[in-house]
């Protein structure tokens, strides 16, 4: 028994080494949003399409929606763009936040790659981005119909992310308000 006790430090060392070792390869450095289950921040900003229209938070409300932070300078945004188009076709409401971008370039992008967004908020200074806790595009937020943030995904939204991480929560938000769910679910 006393002999076995001698192995305790070794076991502790192995446990610690294992813990640290897996930390090296843990590439997921995304942070959970500090705004989870908190209301979407208030804002008053123009859209990418038009300088005159001022959009406010109330434009986001009414049904569960994705808020997707994108920019033309962000390569990963281009990667996820086709999938966002697909989601929009399925009837998912997606609102864009064009983050620290050039308006002309953003307009070009939407023409060239097509537009999955109901509209894109033009956040040139990144002020809304900071209020949201954005630290790199693309980021995608799921908000409910009252405008409460329910989930945040940092990085590309693809089929796997959508099906495993976002869709279950999105569906849950929608089942409370029965009608639009069925057509969206397909």
């Amino acid at each position: 028994m006393a002999r076995l006790k001698l192995f305790i430090p070794l076991l502790l060392f192995i446990a610690l080494a294992g813990f640290l070792y897996q930390g090296i390869y843990d590439k997921d450095d995304s942070l959970t949003s500090a705004l989870l289950n908190k209301p979407f921040p208030a804002f008053s900003l123009p859209t990418v399409q038009s300088v005159e229209t001022n959009i406010g938070k109330q434009e986001l409300l009414g049904e569960a929606a994705l808020v997707n932070v994108w920019a033309t300078w962000c390569p990963s945004c281009q990667v996820e763009h086709p999938y966002l188009l697909k989601l929009a076709q399925q009837g998912v409401k997606i609102i864009g936040v064009n983050y620290k971008d050039d308006r002309a370039a953003a307009q070009q992008w939407l023409i060239k790659l097509k537009n999955p967004y109901v509209f894109s908020i033009f956040d040139q200074k990144g002020r809304l981005g900071m209020d949201l806790g954005v630290y790199g595009a693309p980021e995608t937020y799921l908000i409910d119909r009252e405008g409460t943030i329910r989930y945040k995904h940092v990085g590309v939204v693809d089929e796997q992310v959508w099906l495993t991480k976002i869709k279950p929560k999105y569906d849950a938000l929608n089942t409370k308000k029965a009608e639009p769910v069925q057509q969206n679910a397909g």
């Binding site: 942070l31 990144g126 900071m130 209020d131």
Partner: protein, 174 residues
């Protein structure tokens, strides 16, 4: 040989001066260009101090092992600008830190607050110290007690046995 050597040294000396001047002026130019990347003019030293302290203690959410004073990430630049803006607006350090935490979470604090989540982080080292000291103390006590049992008085039979052994040993020696 010597005639050859002297002009060489003189030559080197002649080069040394312009080189030194070049070196010093380029250093000045370098530090100037660094300062030009980010300049935040402050009215008071106290503000500059607080800016330094805040940018040292807040962590960049993008490049996670740097503070925002250190990082070149765009988000760190935004943080610096926001801190600067709020400092000039007269906000307290606590207000500014709370502002960042409300948006980016506790993660941005290099010195996290003491809470349910972070208590182990704060007192963990002291727990380990106490545990270590406890083990150390027990080991020492054990060492002492085992040496006292060894020096317990011998019985008469044992005493005689030892004497016999010593005696025998001395005999073989002589």
């Amino acid at each position: 040989m010597q005639a050859n050597g002297v002009p060489l040294v003189m030559n080197m000396k002649a080069y040394l001066k312009p080189l030194l001047i070049l070196f010093i002026t380029s250093m000045g130019w370098l530090s100037f260009s660094w300062a030009a990347i980010d300049t935040y003019p402050f009215k008071t030293d106290e503000q500059r101090q607080r800016f330094k302290q805040l940018t040292d203690e807040l962590r960049c959410p993008k490049c996670q092992n740097q503070n925002i004073a250190d990082s070149n990430a765009p988000i760190a630049k935004d943080f610096r600008e926001e801190i600067y803006r709020q400092l000039l607006a007269g906000h307290s350090n606590q207000t500014i830190v709370d502002f960042m935490v409300a948006r980016y979470g506790e993660f941005v604090l290099y010195r996290p607050t003491f809470s349910k989540k972070t208590w182990l982080l704060w007192i963990g080292p002291f727990i380990l110290l106490v545990v270590g000291a406890g083990i150390f103390y027990r080991l020492i006590r054990k060492g002492q007690s085992s040496s006292t049992t060894a020096s317990a008085p011998l019985s008469e039979a044992e005493q005689r046995q030892i004497e016999a052994i010593i005696h025998q040993h001395e005999e073989t020696k002589s």
